[in-house]
């Protein structure tokens, strides 16, 4: 077979003819007619049709384009090469990878998350939540303008909304929401924050209770912890698949991650909604209140152009949730 000899000292190609016999390589230099025998050499692996290299201990090498000839000489093909080029294997591999990835994302990861999430001790959750409140109080929130009586009234109701035997120690904080505006959110340890602006927005107390119940739902389901674990899981999956840590900077691969993240939040919001409906039903409050306050929150967030950050936060289509609540309300009315 024909090849090019590169001596590793300069860039001059020297055409050679290579013959293989009795385990040794016989090389004839076409220009000078010089011949050489090599007993020691390493052959590079076959990858598609890139050149094959015979590497010698002195650092020189012979480049051969004719992979088939080399394979014949070796009397076999690299296993990897066979797998990578056989159509059946490629098709099978594609199916396998797609199915397994889908399974991991849709089944494996959620199951794992559900198993791991409860293992996280509540004390750890408190440690995580503390700095968040501190930062928010520093940066965003102001002191609440609600009267003590109002705060007490709502807090009493808040206690009623909790589960009898929850592992979490809840506390309700009232704040002036500042830039965040009308909102309520929960931290993983059971701290729930209600902004004055949401209080102002609501028509009645039941609407506020609906929102608080929704937030308690988030805590009980350990949504924050779960989403953290899921994120880590998805990141690991993609890192493993695509093999680089640099994929983070390659947005091309971050896209699927973002999509799974968004789908995940949608599910979490639905779970929190269900919890809210259950608790509200228990206390004989109509689901209509939930629907109403959701609509109002939706409208108000559209008005505030500052809230564009919240658009990218993962709240799924509000209208769906409102629809669901209205349906429930209809059912409740029918039953009564």
């Amino acid at each position: 077979m024909k090849g090019i000899y590169w001596n590793g000292q300069n860039s001059r190609p020297q055409p050679v003819d290579v013959y293989f016999g009795e385990g040794a390589l016989n090389v004839q230099f076409e220009n000078s007619g010089h011949t050489a025998n090599y007993a020691e050499y390493k052959i590079s692996e076959r990858i598609a049709n890139i050149p094959r290299y015979f590497n010698f201990p002195d650092g020189a090498q012979i480049e051969v384009m004719d992979n088939e000839a080399v394979d014949q000489m070796l009397e076999n093909h690299d296993l990897s090469f066979k797998l990578e080029t056989e159509k059946q294997t490629i098709v099978l591999a594609t199916l396998f990878v797609v199915i397994v990835s889908a399974l991991i994302l849709v089944v494996g990861l959620p199951r794992l998350t559900d198993v791991l999430a409860p293992q996280v001790p509540v004390s750890l959750l408190s440690r995580v939540s503390e700095p968040v409140i501190a930062t928010l109080d520093e940066e965003v929130f102001g002191e609440s303008q609600l009267s003590e009586e109002e705060q007490e009234k709502i807090t009493d109701a808040f206690v009623q909304l909790q589960l009898q035997e929850s592992e979490f120690t809840y506390r309700l904080l009232f704040r002036d929401g500042g830039k965040i505006g009308a909102n309520a959110f929960a931290l993983p340890d059971g701290t729930v924050v209600l902004t004055d602006q949401l209080y102002d927005l609501a028509d009645n107390y039941e609407q506020i209770y609906a929102v608080l119940a929704h937030e308690i739902g988030h805590v009980e389901h350990r949504h924050t912890v779960k989403s953290v674990i899921k994120q880590a899981g998805v990141a690991s999956l993609f890192a493993g698949l695509f093999g680089d840590v640099s994929f983070i900077s390659d947005l091309v691969i971050a896209a699927p991650m973002m999509m799974t993240q968004m789908a995940n939040s949608r599910q979490m919001e639905e779970e929190a909604d269900s919890y809210s409906h259950e608790v509200m039903a228990y206390h004989k409050f109509s689901p209509e209140h939930f629907a109403n306050i959701m609509e109002k929150l939706d409208e108000s967030s559209l008005d505030e152009s500052e809230n564009w950050a919240s658009f990218f936060s993962s709240h799924p289509a509000t209208s769906e949730r409102v629809e669901k609540a209205r349906q429930l309300a209809k059912q409740v009315r029918l039953e009564n």
Binding site: W6, E84, V100, D250, V252, D298
Partner: protein
């Protein structure tokens, strides 16, 4: 020997090399036997000499200085690469990730091995074990940071600063590894930047830039790129780069302008997207796509602009680069459409996308050389420190630096 036009070339001095036409690198060996080594071993049919399209100026320059124009050719194709890629993912999954280093090596070898320049291919020589080691190290470095970012953000902040502080070391090691394991015509590349210098360019200067309210940022970036380029060598031949301050500053202004305009556009866009809230809900899942496309476009536009500029201002072994055929807008477009393809094929289009962007980049670069490629000489190894080569070869730190 079987009938070939073989002449003894050993006594042709470099000065005899005269080429005044553009030739495809494939053909340069066949068209003028007296000045080329005979490479008819390839047994390929003679190809037509293709007249490439460089400007008239370039042509007359080539005539006047008797330069030789070489082009890159990328032989990779999506079908082959897909086979390699998907089978390697399968093996990686089945081995729970252990195979990932071998997968990376095979893929990179495929891409390098299909890059042809002046009738020779590039080689990627890294050993999978070194890559595995590097990945474990990356994991050890990053894992605590990720863990603490959830549990104790302050500690995570400290770790982050720590990582920033050692970043220059990682940059040097990663570049040393990458270049040491790249070879062309059996001569390795080399990165000779020292860690001390790296600290200067990647820590001291950026900090200084902060104190100038960011005004010095383009200058610092220019210095960083020059540092990287000027410390890269093929054999004994170093790149020598002299970039332009004006270029980097005008690029920064362009970036600022783009951000301003896009800020306005985003505000308007949100109004539109918000209106979609009720009607097309499932599209919400894709609501981030326009933003990502935009980001990818801008990112690759600027990256390729800088890449083009640095190459255009570089010389190596008396050869210069022509990069005017690279249009950053086109390249950015390619990357943006790649992103779309990847999203809508659940990632399966990745190999196709990779080949596509690589082909564009490489086949639009040409090299003008005063001497033929075979007259480059390898470095004497006195310069290469044995220890640093060992260290260089130990870890492939693919941290995306």
């Amino acid at each position: 020997m079987p009938g070939k036009n073989v002449q003894d070339k050993n006594d042709i001095a470099p000065v005899d090399l005269v080429q005044s036409r553009d030739v495809m690198s494939d053909d340069s060996f066949r068209e003028n036997p007296p000045s080329r080594e005979d490479s008819s071993f390839r047994d390929e049919p003679l190809q037509n000499v293709e007249n490439t399209e460089p400007s008239l100026d370039a042509d007359s320059q080539v005539q006047a200085q008797k330069l030789i124009r070489y082009r890159f050719k990328f032989h990779g194709n999506a079908r082959e690469f897909f086979g390699i890629w998907i089978v390697n993912i399968l093996l990686t999954i089945v081995t729970l990730g252990a195979y990932s280093a071998w997968a990376k090596v095979r893929q990179t070898r495929y891409l390098y091995g299909n890059l042809e320049f002046a009738d020779s291919r590039f080689q990627y020589l890294a050993e999978p074990k070194a890559i595995l080691r590097g990945r474990l190290i990356a994991l050890i470095l990053l894992a605590p940071y990720i863990y603490f970012s959830y549990v104790d953000p302050q500690l995570a902040g400290v770790i982050f600063i720590g990582l920033l502080l050692i970043a220059p070391i990682l940059i040097v090691l990663a570049n040393r590894f990458r270049f040491h394991n790249t070879a062309y015509r059996n001569i390795r590349f080399r990165f000779s930047g020292t860690i001390g210098e790296a600290y200067m360019y990647y820590t001291v200067l950026p900090v200084f830039a902060v104190f100038t309210f960011g005004l010095a940022i383009p200058a610092v970036i220019k210095a960083q790129r020059e540092f990287k380029m000027n410390n890269t060598a093929w054999g004994a031949n170093y790149f020598s780069t002299q970039a332009s301050y004006g270029f980097f500053y005008s690029l920064m202004f362009l970036l600022l302008a783009v951000m301003l305009i896009s800020g306005l556009a985003l505000a308007l866009g949100f109004g539109f997207l918000a209106g979609m809230n009720g009607a097309l809900e499932f599209l919400q899942l894709f609501s981030f796509v326009p933003g990502m496309l935009f980001y990818v476009f801008i990112l690759h536009y600027f990256n390729s602009s800088v890449f083009q500029h640095m190459l255009e201002r570089s010389e190596i072994a008396g050869a210069k680069f022509e990069t005017f055929q690279i249009k950053p807008g086109t390249y950015a477009n390619i990357q943006a459409t790649n992103l779309l393809a990847i999203i809508f094929t659940a990632g399966l289009a990745y190999p196709w996308a990779k080949i596509r962007s690589l082909t564009y980049l490489t086949e639009n670069i040409s090299v003008l050389s005063k001497v033929g490629m075979e007259h480059i000489v390898q470095a004497d190894t006195e310069e290469s420190n044995a220890i640093s080569e060992e260290v260089a070869n130990m870890y492939e730190l693919d941290l995306g630096l």
